[in-house]
């Protein structure tokens, strides 16, 4: 497993251990993680802190030149909010753990020139399947359903 995807999975597991939704993300620039995060809907009562958003928030304010040379790793296919944020900042590449349990806006991203690398991680799939089985209502809330 790529060390950056592993770091995103570690974030997802930390979120699960906190009683939250197991989705994690890291932002990588020049071979270093500059922001890491996980979904904080439960922990912070936040409707906007998906894993990707938390990673970007924790990276802090960055110049456009940094985003445009960064890669975002996320354990799950990014929803429209997180995809829109990727487009806002011009992040050119997204590495996705899996898209079997949720299909995000990969087509939109690709249509705008973003490179998608889909890892098909069984560990990511298992994390989400177990979570969705245990807490379907919480999951539906997180995806606006």
């Amino acid at each position: 497993m790529d060390k950056f995807m592993q770091a995103a999975i570690d974030e997802a597991k930390q979120g699960l251990a906190e009683g939250g939704i197991p989705i994690g993300s890291v932002l990588v620039y020049q071979g270093e993680i500059i922001g890491r995060g996980h979904n904080r809907r439960v922990q912070s009562g936040s409707p906007i802190l998906h894993g990707e958003m938390d990673a970007l928030e924790n990276a802090g304010r960055q110049p456009a030149s940094v985003y445009k040379a960064s890669t975002l790793y996320t354990t799950l296919s990014p929803c429209s909010m997180c995809s829109g944020t990727i487009l806002l900042y011009g992040i050119p590449k997204v590495v996705i753990g899996e898209n079997q349990t949720f299909q995000g806006e990969e087509s939109l991203l690709q249509s705008r020139g973003v490179t998608i690398d889909l890892v098909h991680s069984q560990e990511c799939i298992d994390l989400m399947n177990n979570f969705i089985r245990d807490k379907p209502k919480l999951w539906n809330e997180d995806i606006g359903e």
Copy 2:
């Protein structure tokens, strides 16, 4: 001026008074404001708290049924991040103060069935033109340029 757009403008002005970017937003459900906010890039060092995101964050966790019967008011045409968030939660209507100083993702929103009401507010235009003139670098950072 519609009282809800006025509330969004009041938020934008509050942000400006705090040294921030003058964009405000309110989320309205059943004739009441359930969340209000303004851009907090400067105040909170946040790359994700645009005005619309701050309003949604301040509304807290809501069931899908609330979002799907709400209207989002924003002083400025929503960027791809905020538009993606509108799509995630299925907010059916967005009232926009102006889109002359920044053209967001109105076409994407409309293609997904979101109703757009563009107010063409001179007050909103003036707020942004003055801000962009005074702090062009900060503005470019906020839109990933």
